[in-house]
């Protein structure tokens, strides 16, 4: 019986990584859900908006590093973040002006807008690869670990190590700040309220004198900020590769839909549901059980519910179950 070691192993391999991943998914899903709620279409270009924003942040980070500016123990990329958000906001506003506005004026159906966003996705994807190349880029600097596995073992005398990366803590902290700011903005400010009004009933909002173009512009700017933040945090925690960001689209949409498309609170919960389900359902319990159970009962097999190959099947099974029994998601979103 060694509960402490079991707990540490579980924290190290399940709770800590899933929490950081969940926070990244939640930020991404928030952007998707805002566009869906206010502009009423599924923005497939979101993953590539994240990639583009991260590219801007990486270039700026390199600039700062070249100029000898650093952020102490924290990654320099955090300093570059506001700049990157500004660049991304300009790009998405430009895209809206050139592409989406044309279709919005025509009041086309959401399905057409989805296809339009697919086109935007491919263009952004190409531009990102063109600017920064197809290779992996690591741009994390500063102190890499808050707690290292070896340091933890030495300090506590336990057999299991616990590692917490700086980027994981930064991810969670920045995500909490971003979400708090977003909720404050949506619920407390006049612009936020007009956005919610526009989302609830477009015609009524127009009648009460809300300027639709302003609402759209503000939505894009917030989405750009969320996408860039999510992209930079993800890139800091893992690494940046345009193709991986494109692939991130799937778990992000799954998170947004599980939580309820159009519902910001749902997007956050959805992000964590998807992240934890990917990690826990396929976790091999051998190590943890060996610590908890008496020696005679210690497992020789892996005690794994299903192979990690199926982790995506798990998140999509959850997605389907939620849609079957709660078509609007865990939190009341708009039906898909």
């Amino acid at each position: 019986m060694d509960l402490l070691n079991a707990l540490v192993a579980f924290l190290n391999f399940v709770v800590v990584p899933a929490t950081a991943y969940g926070a990244q998914l939640a930020l991404g899903a928030l952007g998707v859900t805002l566009i869906y709620g206010i502009l009423r279409f599924s923005n497939f270009a979101h993953g590539d908006t994240m990639a583009l924003g991260t590219t801007a942040a990486i270039l700026m980070t390199w600039g700062l590093q070249a100029a000898g500016i650093s952020f102490g123990p924290l990654p320099t990329a955090l300093l570059a973040l506001p700049f990157a958000i500004a660049v991304t906001a300009l790009v998405v506003l430009g895209t809206d002006r050139v592409v989406y506005r044309f279709y919005r004026k025509r009041k086309v159906s959401p399905s057409i807008l989805v296809i339009v966003s697919l086109g935007v996705m491919f263009v952004m994807n190409g531009v990102t690869r063109f600017i920064i190349g197809v290779q992996d880029q690591s741009f994390a600097d500063g102190e890499r670990f808050l707690v290292t596995a070896r340091g933890f073992r030495d300090a506590t005398g336990l057999a299991e190590g616990l590692a917490i990366r700086t980027t994981q803590v930064v991810t969670v902290v920045v995500a909490v700040i971003a979400v708090a700011l977003l909720f404050w903005f949506l619920n407390r400010t006049r612009t936020g309220k007009s956005m919610r009004a526009y989302s609830d009933n477009e015609d009524l909002a127009l009648l009460s004198g809300i300027n639709p173009e302003r609402v759209v512009a503000v939505t894009w700017i917030i989405t750009a900020a969320l996408a860039t933040t999510a992209g930079v945090l993800y890139g800091l925690d893992k690494s940046f590769n345009p193709f991986t960001y494109f692939q991130l689209l799937l778990p992000i949409f799954a998170s947004a839909i599980v939580g309820g498309l159009g519902n910001p609170l749902g997007a956050i919960v959805g992000g964590f549901v998807i992240a934890f389900s990917e990690v826990t359902v396929t976790y091999a319990w051998k190590k943890v059980l060996t610590y908890i159970l008496p020696d005679s009962l210690a497992p020789t097999e892996l005690v794994q519910l299903m192979s990690t190959d199926y982790k995506f099947a798990v998140s999509f099974a959850i997605l389907i179950l939620v849609l079957l029994f709660m078509p609007t998601g865990l939190f009341k979103g708009k039906s898909v």
């Binding site: 190290n12 290779q135 943890v288 892996l302």
Partner: protein, 394 residues
């Protein structure tokens, strides 16, 4: 339709005739997808050989060789098949230098090469499955089968007295083939594989995979993946969580980029990739540097050799028709004969014209065995202080 058939037949007749012409060779590699960082070097290697042959003016009465590139995507069999089909039917290529990844190579072989009777030489498809694939004598590779790599990797581990390992592989023909052949060889040698788990490339997060691998345990982790894809993600996550300290890196994982990205954590990890200490490798490196690309890049020398073998075989057969030149490949690649190194393709063409037998050595000391694949020389490497050091050759 009749006219078209007649025209096609006429073209086919002329194609075999001896007159100065343009001979097109398809270079089908994954210019996009998981290998996109190494394929430019591979294509450059093949094109270097083609340029050398064309410049010599001695190929098929002064014919020139024109490379035609196409994207295999490395992972999408349908896209690769379509690309290869296009090169054969509309560009009229006479041979295929490719493809790169094992899955798409098998698809092109079965769906394009065999139906059209076009021979292909792959520089980098290493799946053991391709050794036994039906090929009508049209498929060769200058890369060794991973069955051989599994044995080499086992030898290295046994020499280091490591008996328990965990294995993770990229979920495709290459990763699965290598993992299976390694597991078979390792267990036969008395070792234990605690877990053999697949990982998908380009995924957002690898904590689930690392969690399972860590729970299974093992002295080292064998990562049969790709440097700039999932393999790197797995290593990074394992190091961060303290799950494994030492990694075994097969051919797809050996790259300076990985060492630079991961840094200190990789010190002490070891592995192997196809390579020789032959003088051909050195000469090729010099030629590549002069041509402006990295000659030590993974599979770039194999690509040069694949292209060179295709052209020499055509010269030896006096025909660009695959059914004529494909049977010559094995003879040219193996002893006996006058040894041919990189940069000596002109000399080789002269010798062939004089009827002298040649033994193509090339950049990778090519020796084709059994079903037309490289016998396999491997370079054992260890990573020390951010540098990939060659320990010995096996």
């Amino acid at each position: 339709m009749k006219k078209l058939l007649a025209a096609t037949a006429a073209t086919a007749l002329f194609a075999g005739a001896a007159m100065a012409e343009e001979v097109k060779i398809g270079i089908i590699l994954g210019f996009t997808g998981p290998l996109e960082s190494i394929t430019p070097g591979m294509a450059a290697g093949a094109e270097l050989a083609m340029k050398e042959v064309t410049d010599s003016g001695k190929f098929m009465d002064g014919s020139s060789v024109v490379p035609v590139r196409a994207d295999s995507t490395c992972v999408d069999a349908a896209a690769a098949t379509a690309a290869a089909e296009r090169l054969v039917t509309s560009d009229g290529i006479k041979a295929i230098m490719g493809s790169d990844c094992s899955g798409v190579t098998g698809a092109i072989l079965q769906n394009v090469a065999r139906p059209n009777g076009i021979a292909m030489i792959s520089p980098s498809a290493t799946s053991p499955g391709l050794s036994t694939a039906e090929d009508d004598g049209l498929f060769f590779r200058t890369a060794p089968s991973d069955a051989r790599q599994g044995v080499v990797m086992t030898d290295i581990l046994m020499d280091k007295d490591i008996k328990t390992v965990a294995v993770t592989y990229t979920n495709n023909d290459y990763g699965k083939g290598l993992a299976d052949s390694f597991q078979a060889a390792f267990e036969a040698a008395g070792g234990t594989v605690t877990i053999s788990a697949a990982h998908e490339d380009n995924k957002a997060d690898y904590s689930a995979e690392v969690g399972a691998l860590a729970a299974a345990g093992g002295d080292v982790l064998v990562v049969a993946g790709y440097t700039d894809k999932g393999g790197k993600g797995i290593i990074q996550a394992s190091l961060d969580s303290g799950a494994f300290d030492t990694f075994v890196l097969p051919d797809g994982m050996v790259g300076q980029q990985l060492v630079d990205d991961i840094g200190d954590g990789l010190t002490g990890s070891f592995g192997q990739y196809p390579g020789t200490d032959s003088e051909g490798a050195e000469i090729f490196q010099g030629m590549a540097t002069a041509a402006g690309f990295e000659g030590t890049g993974a599979f770039a020398p194999e690509s040069y050799d694949a292209a060179a073998l295709i052209m020499l075989a055509m010269a030896a057969a006096g025909s660009t028709d695959s059914k004529d030149w494909a049977p010559k490949v094995m003879d040219l690649a193996n002893a006996p004969g006058e040894p041919i190194l990189p940069g000596e393709l002109g000399k080789a063409l002269d010798l062939i014209a004089q009827g002298v037998e040649i033994d193509y050595i090339g950049a990778t000391a090519v020796e084709l065995i059994g079903p037309g694949e490289s016998a396999g020389n491997y370079r054992e490497i260890e990573i020390k202080d951010g540098v990939i050091e060659t320990v010995r050759f096996r």
